[in-house]
Every structure is written in structure tokens, then in C-alpha cells.
Symmetry: C2
Subunit: 138 residues, 2 copies
DNA sequence: CTTGAAGCTCTAGTCACTAGAGGTTGTAGA
DNA sequence: TCTACAACCTCTAGTGACTAGAGCTTCAAG
């Protein structure tokens, strides 16, 4: 049996975050001591590892809840799992496209002024004031 | 003079968002009618355009506040403006790196299962359970 | 048995909005 | 001039995924 602190050390998830996961129904402790402290078993440790990894990959708490639910029922079809993963991939790709566009504009904007002048003829400020300066959309 | 709704239409910023910007000190109306409704002048319209554009480029409210402050003082050095822009660029690049790594892993994970099997031998679930499957860090 | 690290609950704060309730004002048409 | 009603007002609370802090209790080593 592990205390919440031991779980935290093993997984790299902070103690208040573990409590938060319990609050939203993602990870319930195996039980409590007489003094009301949480105790976890190997199952809890593995589940928190799963959560941690999925969060690192950007999955939402809601998605992780569904994934764990699926994991608890080994006989069910895993179709939903692939759907969730595909959706997450799509999401990441959309963000990538957006950020690439931003990077292009920001390079132009940030490099357009050396910071030596005054703000009334600063290319950074002028670019922000008028989207016409921009090469693309965003 | 423009009403808040007219400002909204011209800039594409939603009415409650404009009120929110006022609350955080970004954009104050030129005045009010006798009946307490906000009225804006051309200055306000331009400023909201600036805010909108900067937000689209991912600048934080705090950064935009500093940029507008700088814009109000044409005789000041624009060094801070370039710093803020550079910082934003760095930020975007970090996010890009992270997302690219995520994309790589997610392609592998999402394509590793066709969703036809059961969840007890699903590659998606197995990959999430164990970072060892991953090619890189994240 | 004492001490102090680690645990507990509860509330509130973060960021940039967004939604809704419940009331008031502006304006166009009759 | 009156009447509808769209648009406006303020205030509170909710979003996601935590994080911080106050004030208290418990566990375990020495
Ligand atoms: Zn400049
Ligand atoms: Zn632009
Ligand atoms: Zn599968
Ligand atoms: Zn991994």
C-alpha cells in the first residue's frame, strides 16, 4: 500500500493534482487509514501512470475517463479508443497548423524592429495595429 | 460614436468580451449615454482592432496592456515591444516543438489499432499505459 | 513520548473568456 | 407620441486543469 506522497514520487504527479483527480472521479484510493489518509494499491499506481501519460499526450480528463472506463471492460470493442486517439491527433494537427502560421508572422514582426527606435515608428507596434502587414491569415 | 454592438460587428470581438476588456483595464469607452450605455470613438475602435489582432497572434492580456501603454507614449523607446514580441515567438516555438513530438507519437498510437478488436489487446490502450512504447520524450 | 514531515478539508485564484438572470434603454415604425 | 423589441446594462457563476494557502490532524522515526 502506498501513501499519496509515495504515489506522487513514483509518477511525478503532484499531491494536490492526485487529490484533484479523485475529486473529478478519475482515480479513487483503494481505501483510507483509520486516521483518514488515502492508501493506494498497485492498481492505483498503474492507473495514475496511465493518466499521467495520457495527460502528457494532451488528452483531456474527459477523454481519459472514457479510456479508463474502456480499459476496465476488456471484452468491449476498442473502437471508441481509436476514435478518441484519432480525435486527439486531429486536434494536435489543427493546433500545429495554427502555430506554424503564427510563427511565420511573429518572425517577421519580431525581426522587423531592432528596438533602437521610438515607439511611434516601431514596426512591431505598426504590425499589431494593422493586419494588412501580415502575409497570411490567423 | 459607436455602440458596443457596432464595435463588436466591426472588429469581430463579441460584446461580452469587449466588456471583459474594460473590466481588466484594456479598453475603456469614451463615455456613456444618459441611460448608461457605452459609446466609443474612432480611437476605441482602433484600439480594439489592435487588441483583437494581438490576441489572434497569441499575446496575453498582460503583454497587450504593456504594448498599448507603449503605443500611448510615442517618444518612448520601443525596446520593450521587441522584447515582448521575441518572447511570444519563443513561446510559440516551444509549443511547436512539443506539439510536433506529440503528433509523432499520436500517429503511431492512433494508427496502431483499427478499432476492430477488444480493449484487452488494444494498441492504443497499451501505448497509453506504458511510455516504453513511445519513440521519444514528451 | 515527542517532534515534524506529511496528510487532511475547504476555499479561492489562475487565464480569457462565456452564459444566464433579471432589469433598463434606444430607436424605428404606426 | 406611443409601442414594441432589439440591444443594452450589471452581477454572478461556470469553463479546464490545476495551484496556493489556511488551519487542522495523523503517521512514523528516534
Ligand atoms: Zn520597435
Ligand atoms: Zn495579422
Ligand atoms: Zn484498439
Ligand atoms: Zn510516451
Amino acid at each position: 500500500m502506498f501513501s499519496i506522497g509515495q504515489l506522487s514520487k513514483q509518477t511525478g504527479v503532484k499531491v494536490p493534482t492526485i487529490r484533484y483527480y479523485e475529486q473529478v472521479g478519475l482515480l479513487v484510493s483503494a481505501g483510507r487509514t483509520e486516521g483518514n489518509q488515502r492508501r493506494y494499491d498497485k492498481d492505483g499506481l498503474e492507473r495514475l501512470g496511465f493518466i499521467r501519460h495520457a495527460r502528457d499526450l494532451g488528452f483531456s480528463i474527459e477523454a481519459i475517463t472514457a479510456l479508463i472506463d474502456l480499459q476496465q471492460h476488456p471484452d468491449r470493442s476498442c473502437q471508441q479508443a481509436t476514435e478518441i486517439a484519432q480525435h486527439q491527433l486531429t486536434d494536435v494537427r489543427e493546433k500545429l497548423l495554427r502555430l506554424k502560421a503564427l510563427e511565420t508572422e511573429l518572425v517577421r514582426i519580431a525581426d522587423g524592429c531592432d528596438g533602437e527606435g521610438n515607439s511611434d515608428n516601431c514596426y512591431v507596434l505598426a504590425s499589431l495595429a494593422d493586419h494588412q502587414h501580415c502575409r497570411g491569415e490567423h
